[in-house]
């Protein structure tokens, strides 16, 4: 079932949680709502679920306006960050809850309930623990029970609010893979909220990036990572180096240095910020190279497959006072081949740089 939200606006007192948000969530996809805390992603999820009412705008489920439908009738499965399991009920009864509260006409027979609950517990690999109470389970197990409980009512969409947020790193990683597999099996339209960009890029088919109550970008993980639509997205998705400067022909001029860029939409002489990923910077030891910014090599960290080199700009290179910090990732052999030493002066030449007009200037 597809989900569309149109011009959703929601305020809490003075705070604008959602500012005219419109997004399409296609049928059968696993979408991540990604953003820093307070960006409105959880509010959006709760509005879609019907746990929160928007001040204005529409929520369209499967082509029908569901804005005024009660959460009870929306047929959404909701999974909470802190599980929200019923602690007085066993794992089995937790999962059976949604079936037992149905009106008598549509309630399945006891045998049917048993069958369905056990099938779901099998699916989440918890059938042996059916008679335990939630307090006797680990965090990862509890979240899987919560998921089985949400799936028991055969929801049309599955909404997960930071489902792995309360778990430790190891379990988190495992559950991520597991959620992806589960989704590939069930193909139920799913939305999950996260502030962890790695989680979003790894698990989701599509990523919706939110910032300050607005949608910044929508796309596949590759699209948003490779072609961020805004400086915010660039900064939020992984490590990034920034160069503050001014557009000069086909170059970004940072102080005395010039960096070639392929941008076009920015007019001459405008203040601009260039973004490059750590692996998109090259270190050139020949200081006579025409382009690139001269920096001092601060530290070389060689562990793992690639080396990380940390560099600082020359004092006051871009007229901003404090030295700017850069990070480059390159193969370890390259470090040896270049014969890099700490304290050395080198030039940084971006192999790819993305330039945005500087809004803060």
């Amino acid at each position: 079932m597809s989900i569309q939200v149109e011009h959703i606006h929601k305020t809490f007192g003075q705070f604008v949680a959602l500012d005219q948000v419109s997004v399409n969530f296609p049928d059968g996809a696993l979408t991540a709502l990604l953003g820093p805390s307070g960006c409105g992603k959880t509010t959006l999820l709760r509005v879609i679920a019907g746990l929160e009412t928007a001040d204005s705008g529409r929520v369209i489920l499967d082509g029908e306006d569901a804005s005024s439908t009660h959460v009870r009738q929306r047929q959404v499965g909701f999974v909470f960050q802190h599980y929200a399991l019923f602690r007085h009920l066993t794992v089995f009864e937790n999962v059976a809850f949604g079936l037992r509260v149905r009106p008598r006409r549509t309630r399945p027979k006891e045998a049917e309930i048993r069958l369905r609950v056990h099938r779901l517990l099998d699916l989440v690999q918890l059938d042996p623990l059916a008679n335990r109470f939630p307090t006797q389970l680990s965090g990862g197990q509890r979240q899987r029970v919560a998921l089985a409980r949400a799936l028991a009512v055969e929801p049309k969409v599955l909404l997960l609010d930071e489902p792995f947020g309360a778990l430790d790193a190891q379990v988190r990683k495992e559950l991520r893979r597991w959620l992806r597999r589960l989704h590939d099996e069930l193909h139920i339209t799913s939305l999950f909220v996260t502030h962890d960009q790695e989680e979003a890029l790894e698990v989701a088919d599509r990523v919706v990036l939110m910032h300050r109550g607005r949608v910044e970008q929508v796309g596949t993980p590759t699209e948003v990572y490779e072609h961020p639509a805004s400086p915010f997205v660039y900064g939020f998705l992984g490590a990034v180096n920034t160069f503050h400067g001014r557009i000069d022909g086909t170059h970004l001029r940072v102080g005395e240095a010039t960096l070639p860029h392929d941008g076009d939409a920015i007019h001459q002489g405008a203040d601009a910020v260039g973004f490059t990923r750590p692996h998109e910077l090259e270190i050139v030891t020949d200081l006579a190279t025409p382009h690139g910014i001269e920096v001092i090599l601060d530290r070389i960290l060689t562990f793992g497959a690639s080396a990380r080199v940390e560099l600082d700009s020359l004092p006051d290179a871009d007229g901003r006072g404090e030295p700017t910090h850069y990070e480059v990732i390159l193969p370890r052999e390259k470090v040896d081949a270049l014969g890099l030493v700490e304290g050395q002066r080198v030039r940084l030449v971006p192999s790819r740089i993305h330039v945005f007009p500087n809004q803060t200037a």
């Binding site: 929200a84 399991l85 019923f86 949604g98 109470f133 949400a150």
Partner: protein, 284 residues
Amino acid sequence: MTFATFFNPTRQTRVLPGFNLALGYTLVYLSLMVLIPLSAVFIKSATLSWSEFWAVVSAPRVVATYQLSFGASLLAAAINAVFGLMLAWALVRYRFPGKKLIDALVDLPFALPTAVAGIALTALYAGNGWIGSLLEPLGIKVAFTPLGVLVALVFIGVPFVVRTVQPILEDLETELEEAAASLGAHRWQIFRRVLLPILLPALLTGFALAFARAVGEYGSVIFIAGNIPMISEITPLIIITKLEQYDYVGATAVAVVMLVFSFLMLLFINLLQAWSAKRTGRNR
């Protein structure tokens, strides 16, 4: 704690010091303040022979007071359980002007001298009182009837339920209700299947406390009860009456019955509470 460590606490090094002192102090204090006075009741009543004892405690006028005292106390505690829960719910879940004031008012029956409460209630519910004059034409007499006793017992029992349920309600995540609603449960089903089972142990504690208080209540009841033999006499009044007639042994005999009966009921409620606590997974 096992039997062995109970008597040999020195065998284990404890993180918390002062176990011996604390236990000794607790036992001495409990003996001085509770056990010795209570056992005196039993010893005094033991001067009666079994048949004399039975004759005193099974006199029709005394039996009628048991019925009223325990019946009205149970009913009052039950009423308080229902309305105390509602009051606690309103205080925890909603914001309204004067909430702090109402929260403070709940404790008033604790603080008020019971005789004052009794006189106030009598004045209100008597045939010429504010409320009594409204109810009288409808054929409802409150003051000087068992109903009056009930009103007084409800009044003094309110804080017990509210104050025991309130903290549990405050800890209850609204997410539980949201989860239940997203699974298709109606308001009533959420209350019945999610909230009530979680609140039940606390509710039972409040019920037991309100009941215990009501059984022992004297001051507020005697004014409004009218103390008509066989109709609106409570057991504590019988004890006082016997004391005033210098029938100390008779008074203690009735007291023993009350004590044993109260103890059994509280024990039963405690067992019920332990059972429901276990069911709600409170015991980790």
